[in-house]
Subunit: 419 residues, 2 copies
């Protein structure tokens, strides 16, 4: 990975036009190679059938013509996106003729470990090129042939643009190499896992490289006593049922006991395909399976919902900060005191009021292509756009200034912001 | 540390006025307790004398009346600093009545491990209060009594303002507790080490908590063939000699061989108190000790300078990116092509042109109180001000929107920026 680090310096110094030319070539070569990709993908799918992999995994593994078109469209959108490295967000005169600026630069080398979906290889490689980062890719073994083919196509595209950037993309294929990757904190600056909670947890627990992402998505919705009943039913339904397999879907419903008596029967009626698991008070209103202590910290990713009644918004917030995963949590309330308290006190990346948890997403937030959703408390939090792949450097331009006269008080700083 | 995490939610929701009132009380109580602090400090100093600790460590251990006044002045400046949590840097309409905002919030619980200087306890606690973070402090055993006294004074000040915030400061005193702290990634969000390279490396290598800081500060200055000779001599002198014990002092001088013949004798004459260690070419110009391979990756923190001649700015940049610590590096050149190449290609937190490496510092950059200098590639890089102790959260306000109509295409996002 030493070569990846070296390549990162070359790519970091590149112009936007070069990076966009690579992306244009990505789109062109993917379009030209549809038949080859289909062939490689068919090989993976055949092996997957023989290995009797699960239906949902098989579905994610498919990379058909339609999905390739979506990928190409994504690259074309990315080309039009403003250069994430153009920004200079600080320009300050420290003294006459001594000017400090802070400029966006790429992070360096990004390690990406992903499962099943070969689309991820193309998406993340494109984001890395746009932001000037070298990418080291490790895909799931179930997509071995598709990933290998895609990698060859993309690296070939880089080579067509300029031979000297070829080392900006690396592919790692064996499981043993993951361990080696995770130990390379000297050469890899950021690790992005894309896959199951198990994969993310494993990576978080086995590397000193910073990891961007989230393991759990235990999202809550709290229905206050001031909630509009119709809105409450609609939002619980959407948050739980619209797409239950994703990280921003609802897992635990907290409901004020006054609201519970009024609204819970309608909620349960609307969520008739969902398995409900409730605390004692909840079960005194609607008959259901009892919730165990474990339910409060479980991400079902399925049509299962745990339900708990609470006495106040304070109790709801305590529950969320204790059992949640600091990902996305929502309140349904018309009382402003309650919603203000909730928004201010819930320690999550995204806190929502009177709307569905399912909005917590980079595309819906208008960030363009999404790098991932982060529950980290540093660097990038919540849905992360391409800026999450950048950092800054300070540049100080002088005309011969030494520190001595400022240290002994002969000269003083002006510290005048120029932008 | 569970109580620290709980306290972090309470402090995060506090108003600026509360946080400033605590800081006012910090200043008042420190001023009132000068005699007590002197007594505790005398005790530590006596033990230090008996233990025959080094002169520089003894000096750092002293907390006299003058240093207390400096601390109080620092707190007063911090009170006047704008609230670091006031900022809302994104406000975007996703659709009619659905508004996203991104608000600054504290990171949560900050662990601080520091050596010798008891001043650090007061400085970092003040920064944490201002930014709404809970602080867990572990000082060096040589300052045990002073640290304990200072902690009691500050926590007492918090209690005077409002009993419920008392858990916002924690002190850890034994070495065994460090190991426990480093394992508490569930409760501590960021670790800030303040001390020797050994301490920082130890912490970086023994925790899953993100660490903000830098181990080495191997700073370079490259003298181009186009450099003004007088400027070169002045800047090398300042960078190496003005304060050699600090992280932004010069360790390796790279000099173009043409410049070496012209300027090196004057540089060495000016740095007559410095031990020079040169490569072969350097030694053919000025007689000195040979540099070994190890010299290129050594931070001397002393009046020692390694010197290497290079054939071009490209070679200089390669050396810096290979052997440097990505902290601070400077070029002295009048040729714009050379300085542009250097600034663009050196992968360091601070890259300087025609000025001394010693400017790379939070106070000199105009950031107010400095949290530290970071060589991380994510979150905060270079000199870090109080914003380094903050992160953001997303807040989405709606009036009953579910995701379903946006997912099926019935409704479309407007994504209109409101600020």
């Amino acid at each position: 990975m030493k070569s990846a680090k070296k390549a990162s310096y070359i790519l970091a110094a590149s112009d936007e036009s070069l990076r966009n030319r690579i992306l244009i070539e990505f789109a062109t070569q993917l379009d030209k190679s549809r038949a080859e990709i289909a062939e490689a993908n068919a090989r993976d799918l055949k092996l997957a059938e023989e290995a009797l992999i699960s239906g949902s995994m098989y579905k994610r593994l498919i990379l058909d013509d339609r999905k390739i078109s979506v990928l190409i469209k994504g690259i074309e959108d990315l080309i039009k996106t403003p250069d994430p490295l153009a920004d200079v967000d600080l320009k300050r005169e420290l003294d006459n003729g001594l000017v400090l600026s802070r400029k966006r630069v790429p992070i360096g080398v990004i390690g990406v470990i992903f499962e099943s979906r070969p689309d991820a290889l193309v998406q993340i490689s494109s984001l890395c090129v746009k932001s000037g980062n070298v990418v080291v890719l490790k895909g799931g073994k179930e997509a071995l042939y598709t990933n290998r083919r895609l990698f060859e196509i993309l690296q070939g595209a880089v080579r067509l643009v300029d031979e000297k950037y070829t080392q900006c993309m690396h592919l790692v294929e064996t499981r043993e190499e993951i361990k080696q990757l995770l130990a390379m904190n000297e050469y890899i600056d950021l690790m992005i896992p894309r896959g199951s909670n198990q994969l993310v947890s494993y990576i978080q627990n086995n590397t000193k490289i910073p990891v961007l992402g989230h393991a759990d998505g235990i999202c809550h919705m709290y229905i206050d006593s001031s909630a509009d009943p119709e809105m409450a039913v609609k939002l619980v339904y959407d948050a739980k049922c619209q797409y239950p397999a994703v990280c921003n879907a609802l897992e635990t419903l907290l409901i004020h006991y006054e609201a519970a008596e009024k609204i819970l029967p309608s909620i349960c009626a609307a969520l008739d395909k969902v398995e409900w698991r409730g605390d004692e008070k909840t079960r005194s209103i609607v008959t259901m399976k009892p919730a165990s202590g474990e339910d409060w910290s479980t991400e079902y990713n399925d049509l299962v919902l745990s339900i708990k009644t609470v006495g106040s918004v304070v109790e709801a917030v305590d529950h969320i900060n204790t059992f949640g995963s600091h990902h996305t949590d929502a309140i349904v309330a018309n009382d402003k005191t309650a919603s203000d308290y909730f928004v201010r006190n819930v320690d999550s990346a995204a806190v929502l009021h009177n709307c569905s948890t399912r909005f917590s997403d980079g595309f819906r937030f208008g960030f363009g292509a999404e790098v991932g959703i982060s529950t980290n408390k540093i660097h990038a939090r919540g849905p992360v756009g391409i800026e999450g792949l950048t950092i800054y450097k300070y540049i100080l331009e002088g005309n011969g200034q030494d520190v001595a006269p400022y240290a002994d008080g002969t000269k003083a700083f002006t510290h005048k912001d120029l932008i």
